[in-house]
Symmetry: C2
Subunit: 294 residues, 2 copies
């Protein structure tokens, strides 16, 4: 199985599990369940779940049960997109080429749908009966920290909002990149290690891998906003520049940004060298993160 | 110690623990931490934390460590108030006599502060090291279910929003009362039992007690909205009627509503009879819920 086949197969398995974990559209109150599903099944690439799964495989070989904790990441990621797209925040009408949640269901329902996806993420982890209690607790703690305010996703979003229209600030840019997208990507990999019972050395390698690909991923995101067109991206291109957002190309230029992304990708691969052959998918993903075009 | 002294002492202890658990106002990003603290320390009565604590005491006598899981309930409750008060939802400018989060910090920050409090609630439970892992998992599962969409807090909020301006509907009114406020109040009591290791019989009694006082509490809330003034309530009185909200007095009249609240309070007390002397505070609280004036 080559990487493309692997990603297609894993994505299908994640979608099937999300279908099972998301409240059914005909369960009361139906409106919010339809709103949650609208955003959850709007064409996401399932990068975070696949990272958790691949990290678990890197530690223990096969890890089919990893699909359940993997989905908790997609629930959190989708909640963050719904809230980020709200008029009070980024005010986006489209996401992945699909109308955003509040455009279809209204602002109130979009706020609550985001809340519900976040809540469901923790419920899914707490109720994952096949995972030992101590690991479930560690998974929840890791996810909550990555999604939170201190060096976590919400913290990054706050600084991103506050940076708009202000002069570029390298310190703030690095904080935003590390926190807003990086924290959850790093947590995905770390949670794969927790699920699979990684020892201290493996955990440290996975953590560094996750940190590095998180940074590479966000730098490439910034680059694509400048170089790609909206149709390829599935969202409005050029929006960062238009909104005066802090980005890597704005601060360092395109060429230097590309060099830094490559450097982080290489460092990610180096960090998981001790994991050996089972880490093949993580190595391939580190390459894909910087070669992707959307 | 009489009930008033008990409530004052417990509330002070909860406030001190929340002070410890809430991110410090000078930690980066400071804006969101100030926003979280603004609403968290805006004069809440800490009813849910005190219920958890009193339920734990009903099972095991002293339960000083219950203060930490107790605070997770106040974090969730506060997040729900911040989001409910948003312009897209109930559009309230004041809460407990204090300007609401979005009035002070803006809508974007209020949305994120709510998200952050919800996230922090689960983190606090996951990191409560003195509680065995299996109980931590059960506490998180219970809290997530009560805060969620299916017969939970968000579900009740959704139906409440959808009921506005529509003809009164007894089925929907009961769903809203059971879910919007009732689910978290019931969970408070159930979580106290989980924390203290309640056996099956005690758990069943606590669950029924929680369900009944949840209903009594909400019926009294509806009654006070009609009969009390804004200064006493600390929020705008008469708002339910003005917004065409489904309430008990609107459906059943004041006298019958009072009778039902009393009936639920009595049933709550009956449900915890097997717990004996240690349940004294729960009995007193069941009485207080229906005699309160704000």
């Amino acid at each position: 199985m080559n990487l493309t086949e692997y990603l297609v197969a894993r994505r299908a398995a994640v979608d099937a599990e999300l279908e099972r974990l998301a409240p059914a559209a005909d369960v009361r109150p139906t409106t919010i369940h339809r709103a949650m599903r609208h955003s959850l099944f709007a064409g996401g690439k399932r990068i975070r779940p696949i990272l958790l799964w691949a990290a678990a495989e890197a530690v223990s070989g096969e890890a089919p049960g990893a699909v359940t904790p993997a989905c908790s990441l997609e629930l959190v990621h989708t909640y963050s997109l719904i809230h980020d797209d709200l008029p009070a925040l980024d005010n986006d009408d489209f996401r992945r080429g699909v109308p955003t949640c509040h455009k279809v269901f209204g602002e109130a329902m979009a706020i609550l749908a985001g809340d519900a996806l976040l809540t469901r993420a923790f419920q899914v982890l707490a109720e994952a009966d096949s995972i030992p209690h101590d690991r479930r607790v560690a998974l929840i703690a890791e996810l909550a920290a990555a999604a939170g305010t201190i060096d976590g996703m919400i913290g990054g979003q706050v600084e991103d909002l506050e940076a708009e229209g202000k002069p570029l600030d390298a310190d703030r840019l690095h904080y935003i990149h590390r926190s807003k997208t990086g924290a959850l990507l790093r947590a995905s990999v770390v949670m794969g290690g927790i699920y699979a019972g990684a020892d201290e050395r493996a955990s440290a390698g996975l953590s560094e891998y996750g940190r590095r690909i998180g940074l590479a991923f966000q730098i490439v995101d910034d680059i694509l906003d400048v170089t790609a067109d909206s149709a390829t991206l599935g969202k409005t291109a050029g929006k960062d520049v238009e909104q005066g957002k802090a980005t890597f190309p704005a601060l360092y230029g395109l060429e230097e940004s590309r060099r830094q992304a490559r450097e982080h990708s290489n460092a990610a691969v180096a960090a998981i060298e001790p994991l050996g052959l089972n880490a093949i998918r993580l190595r391939e993903i580190a390459e894909l993160v910087i070669s992707r075009s959307s």
